[in-house]
Symmetry: C2
Subunit: 138 residues, 2 copies
């Protein structure tokens, strides 16, 4: 049994939050959006069909759970989410990962997708700690 390792590229822009049954959950370090990343802890997985059907069903349920967390974070910040954006892209970092992002009509990039655009606003240490606590305790 090998220990699951997140690609170092994820360390650059996000921080470990919690392990769920299938996925490592990470908080994207960007104050503009409530934004979680799910990494299925399956070595070598790149595409959805690198998971078993059982793992995929678990992933879908963790995507929904991540969406609930993202909505709750937006609500707590007084910025309720208008639409969830959920995506498995992987053009830059191939390790299988799902983005779950809370979008608002006034978020500055709406309605465009957020990936591949500059402008990330790092979280303050206090905000990061509070968000991680909220994700872990939910």
């Amino acid at each position: 049994m090998t220990e699951f390792k997140a690609d170092p590229a994820f360390e650059a822009g996000s921080v470990f939050a919690v392990d769920w049954p299938l996925c490592q959950v990470r908080l994207q370090d960007d104050a503009r959006f409530p934004w979680l990343i799910l990494l299925p802890r399956v070595d070598g997985a790149v595409e959805l069909d690198d998971l078993t059907a059982e793992q995929r069903a678990a992933l879908m349920e963790e995507m929904v759970r991540a969406g609930e967390r993202v909505r709750a974070l937006g609500q707590a910040a007084g910025r309720p989410v208008d639409k969830l954006n959920t995506a498995a892209l992987g053009n830059v970092t191939r390790q299988l990962h799902l983005h779950v992002v809370g979008r608002r009509r006034d978020d500055g990039l709406w309605p465009d997708p957020i990936w591949g655009r500059p402008g990330a606003v790092p979280l303050s240490a206090d905000d990061k700690a509070a968000l991680l606590r909220a994700i872990r305790e939910a």
Copy 2:
């Protein structure tokens, strides 16, 4: 029982291909990428959690099946897919839909996401007919 209706916005850029158990499958009218759209035939659904857990599991399996089709279309065109991009966005058209797009390093937009960018290249009538046949017969 009401008949499922795709939002008219989908008629503008894509064409009906086939009905799978959960989703209406549409072919995006863009010669740059093999690109399918899945619309779960569930009235009023906007977010993944507007589906039941059973419907979500079915959707995940249809996402994988769409990815297989997209890869096969790329292969048949002599342009094998480097990475699938799968996303539920819905910032422009809210009706729940999943994009499944085959990306290549030489596709002109790589590694950026394709949504919200100009440059669609409509399919010829012959190519459209051949692609629809391939999707339906697979």
